[in-house]
């Protein structure tokens, strides 16, 4: 048990932790309160004050007051959750919101309770996404609604969901409520809620709000009937959940209409007409939680954009298809596409037929997907959609994705935009900062200059030598003769043995041939430092090394990929693709190596995490991650010194846990101070001279994998 601290001791510590020299915070009073606690609690709180202060001093200051007050009521786990939640809130929403978390402990406790029994978006998102992809129709995305809005809705491309559902008493039921909500919103898209001209009518109607509400009520009845037909199992869940959701259930006035709405042939147009004709004597019910809300304006916008876009896309796709099919033909054929509407409403079976000079062509996946989506909007595919676009009719640039705003990444759906979010380890907090780095894969512009041939000439002797030594490492499938056991009889050995046995000498049992299968099954990623500090000699040496290494690796069957890393702060982490595993080493790759240029800073954690992920997807017995670098991690938003080193170390620990062997080659002579801590004692090489890099890299690789 550590010794109890006096008020003075504590005040001194607090002054340091809270940086009072600059923050001008008064710590005397707090010190007194803390001094009154038993020593174990003192130390416990000081550790947490330190951690929080590393994130924000004001936050830590507030924490002291509150923590002392609640320490007796709350168990330690809850205190820690509370502190971490406040820090996460600070990361995501700023100081103001974080302070609120600290001040309003009761709110947190309530929230914590909800978190224990509720279902959170974060935990359920990927199951829900798979689920909604499995349902038919357009592939919808899911995302969290904006903060503070806990209602669900869809714009017909994305389903927005609350971040937490805790309406019901058990985790399972709360999850079910998510699932039902997702299904309900999916049903709006799938069964054409927004094919009714709602928006046009609302624009001119005096009682727009009532119309919208009544329409929603009637549509909800219709959609539930659709769900009952389509997903009877889920419908049973709806019925059960409904009894738990308290609402004023008086919809007896609606009963006349219910019959009509529940008919399979009922449409949203009918719901809308009914809403308009009955506006005076019908009251809309309060909608049930899972029925979400409708936002006609957003839907209308999204739909209009999409309809234009998809019309163009399908026409362009047809034109591309025609061109593709006619590629090697002397007499180009005429493409013809036709749509016949099926009797039943079954989106999976709608038939588009494509023929080329009356020969049926199988419909490509992308056209099938587009036609499904178009059908959901229009309930038909107009003939003009199915005429291939003429040359220059559309500018393909129109459909290129827009240049991303780095902040957009946090708004969800980021995977499709080619950005990935990674956690980062904050050593002072002793915790990860969630989704802290946004990473994008970028390409290196190939430079076709004389660099590669110069390098090949300069090192021609070395290359020959490397190829020879590498060839000796090859392990190929080959037939081993005269084995005691094997797949086939070794006829030569057998004949000899038979002769031997005729002589009366002893007959050998080495009579088989066996196939020796290659054991060498290696995948390696080379991660090259492209930070600004590599400018000049180092960059040159790195590029030369890569060329030599590739030349040597080509004699082996090892799979290898090369990426460069750099970035400016956490929102612009960049990984430059130089060679993927699938790409063969060819003139394009060589030109990319030649095109490697120094960029910005050295943030390493995200790169290690992302490349580990790539390596893990490769089926190989041995996976290696080699970093070529010129110095320690460094980036301008605090990724200096210990923070960067600790995050990098953490990322390497994660990689090792996944069975990856990390190795580092560096030319920073001070690296011996920090590399053993990051990579472990035997997993790095420090070169004293840049010029050695090209000579050494391949050799190190050879020794690593021999």
């Amino acid at each position: 048990m550590p010794a109890s601290l006096s008020t003075e001791d504590i005040e001194q510590k607090l002054d340091l932790l809270l940086d009072v020299e600059f923050s001008f915070l008064k710590t005397r009073h707090h010190a007194e309160t803390l001094a009154a606690l038993p020593s174990e609690k003192q130390h416990y709180l000081l550790v947490w004050i330190d951690r929080i202060a590393s994130t924000n001093i004001q936050l830590a200051y507030q924490f002291i007051d509150q923590a002392v007050a609640v320490l007796d009521e709350m168990d330690k786990n809850t205190v820690e959750d509370w502190a971490l939640y406040a820090m996460d809130t600070y990361d995501q929403a700023g100081l103001h919101k974080a302070l609120a978390v600290i001040r309003d402990v009761d709110y947190f406790i309530r929230l914590n309770h909800e978190r224990t029994y509720g279902a959170s978006y974060e935990d359920q998102a990927s199951v829900l996404l798979h689920f909604v992809h499995g349902l038919s129709g357009r592939q919808l995305k899911i995302d969290q609604s904006n903060l503070g809005q806990d209602l669900a809705w869809t714009d017909t491309e994305t389903i927005y969901l609350p971040s937490l559902i805790a309406k019901l008493d058990s985790c399972h039921d709360n999850f079910l409520l998510y699932k039902i909500t997702v299904t309900f919103l999916w049903a709006q898209v799938r069964f054409g809620t927004f094919r009714a001209p709602l928006q046009q009518i609302l624009e001119h109607h005096d009682e727009a709000e009532n119309v919208q509400q009544l329409f929603h009520t009637l549509e909800s009845i219709r959609l539930e009937a659709c769900i009952q037909r389509e997903l009877p199992g889920l419908y049973r869940d709806i019925l059960r959940i409904k009894t738990h959701l308290s609402i004023n259930k008086d919809n007896s006035v609606l009963s006349d209409l219910i019959d009509q709405l529940e008919q399979p042939q009922c449409t949203s147009q009918i719901s809308l007409e009914l809403a308009l004709t009955n506006l005076q004597h019908l009251q809309s019910c309060q909608s049930l939680y899972y029925q979400g809300m409708i936002k006609p304006e957003q839907v209308y916008q999204t739909m209009m954009d999409r309809i234009d876009k998809e019309k163009a896309l399908i026409k362009i796709s047809l034109a591309d298809l025609e061109e593709e099919l006619n590629k090697n033909k002397s007499k180009p054929g005429k493409l013809d596409a036709r749509f016949t509407k099926s009797e039943e409403e079954d989106i999976e079976r709608t038939s588009i037929e494509i023929t080329l000079d009356d020969q049926p062509i199988s419909v490509p996946e992308n056209i099938r997907t587009l036609s499904k989506s178009i059908l959901l909007d229009l309930d038909d595919i107009p003939a003009e959609y199915l005429e291939a676009a003429g040359p220059g009719e559309y500018d393909p640039e129109l459909f290129k994705p827009k240049e991303e705003d780095p902040d957009d990444v946090w708004k969800g759906t980021y995977h499709e935009e080619g950005a990935f979010l990674y956690n980062e380890w904050d050593y002072r907090r002793q915790h990860y900062r969630k989704n802290w780095c946004a990473m994008r894969e970028k390409s290196v512009t190939p430079v076709y200059d004389s660099f590669v041939s110069d390098t090949l000439n300069k090192y021609s002797g070395l290359i020959k030598h490397l190829r020879k030594t590498f060839e000796a490492m090859r392990d190929e499938n080959r037939v081993l003769k005269r084995q005691t056991d094997g797949e086939e009889v070794d006829i030569d050995a057998l004949v000899e043995a038979l002769t031997d046995s005729c002589d009366g000498s002893e007959m050998t049992d080495r009579l088989y041939t066996r196939m020796h299968k290659s054991e060498r099954n290696i995948a390696v990623v080379i991660m090259v430092d492209m930070s600004g500090s590599t400018k000049g000699w180092i960059n040159n040496a790195e590029r030369e090394s890569l060329i030599l290494l590739c030349e040597a690796l080509e004699t082996l069957d090892d799979r290898y990929a090369i990426y460069g890393f750099s970035g400016v702060a956490r929102k612009r982490c960049e990984l430059y693709t130089i060679k993927t595993f699938d790409e063969p080493y060819n003139s394009e790759i060589k030109a990319r190596i030649s095109g490697i240029q120094p960029k910005d800073y050295t943030r390493m954690g995200f790169a290690i995490r992302h490349l580990s992920k790539l390596l893990n997807e490769i089926d190989a017995r041995t996976r290696i991650l080699i970093t070529i670098s010129d110095g320690k991690p460094d980036d301008y938003d605090n990724y200096r010194g210990e923070y960067g080193i600790e995050d990098t170390r953490r990322a390497l620990i994660e990689a090792r846990r996944d069975g990856i062997h990390p190795y580092c080659i560096t030319i920073d002579e001070r690296a011996r101070d920090y590399l053993p801590h990051m990579y472990g004692p035997a997993a790095f090489t420090v070169l004293d001279d840049v010029q050695q890099l090209p000579l050494k890299v391949s050799d190190i690789y050879r020794r690593l994998t021999i």
Binding site: G134, D237, D346, E488
Partner: protein, 270 residues
């Protein structure tokens, strides 16, 4: 181990297998057979290729010899080898040589899985020479007129390394197989597992859900084969949700979130 003592006669299929034609594949195969052209069956796993071959063998009244190719399968596994018997070496035909001699239908399943050297023996059989070189015997075996070579190939998920070479694929008449449309597939399942058509229809609907997930989390959707399995379990009294979980979901993926999602889909449907 005494496979070599089986006579080709024993590979005759006596009872008509149930095969539900999807397009004109039966007529095309028959024509190819008459014209002595080898046939390539393309299509995803479990969509009825093997069943089709059994049916055609029955229909054409030829024995069917099936070889499932794997990455250890060598040319001599197909052609034959010397074995030692009573102090002497004797030659034993492999399945391909046996088919060539007796005029059977030889079906090489998943041809791309086999070792590259097997192509050396397949190529001369698959063009108009129709001969099988038997290197170790120093002979070239001419195929009898009833012999037919057919191979299968799943273009869906093989790695680029295993793509079928042009020189191979251009020797074959290709038949493309895919999962049958919903109504037909339901009928197949109802018949194979002896369950009612409505339930079979729901299983097919469930299969479509998993096929929607192909490419966004699943490598493949549920095949007809898996549906038949699930249907059989249901026939024996297992609940549909459990049957879908055991016979389909678990067969498709190990990813726990995906498994949950698939279970949620089946529990929504049944």
């Amino acid at each position: 181990m005494n496979a070599h003592t089986l006579k080709a006669e024993e590979y005759f299929i006596k009872d008509e297998p149930f095969y539900q034609a999807v397009g004109d594949e039966i007529a095309v195969f028959e024509a190819a057979y008459n014209q002595k052209l080898p046939v390539l069956l393309k299509g995803p796993t479990g969509c009825g290729k093997t069943r089709f071959m059994e049916y055609m063998a029955w229909r054409l009244k030829r024995p069917l010899i099936t070889v499932s190719c794997h990455d250890d399968l060598t040319a001599s596994d197909l052609v034959g080898r010397y074995l030692i018997s009573g102090g002497e070496t004797v030659w034993v035909d492999g399945p391909l040589a046996r088919s060539v001699r007796t005029g059977a239908i030889c079906y090489l399943d998943e041809i791309v899985e086999a070792r590259k050297d097997t192509m050396v023996v397949i190529h001369p059989l698959a063009d108009d020479r129709r001969v099988l070189p038997m290197e170790k015997l120093g002979e070239v075996l001419a195929a009898s007129s009833e012999f037919c070579l057919s191979v299968s190939y799943n273009p869906g998920y093989q790695s680029v390394l295993k793509d079928l070479k042009q020189s191979t694929r251009q020797r074959f008449v290709a038949l493309e197989f895919d999962y049958p449309d919903a109504e037909l597939e339901a009928r197949i399942i109802a018949k194979e597992a002896d369950i009612d058509l409505e339930l079979a229809g729901k299983l097919v609907k469930f299969a479509h859900m998993t096929r929607n997930l192909k490419g966004s989390g699943l490598e493949e959707g549920a095949s007809t084969r898996l549906l038949v399995h699930a249907a059989r379990l249901i026939h024996d009294g297992i609940s549909p949700v459990t049957a879908c979980h055991c016979a389909i979901a678990q067969a498709l993926t190990d990813d726990s979130e995906m498994l949950t999602a698939i279970d949620e889909l089946s529990s929504s449907l049944f």
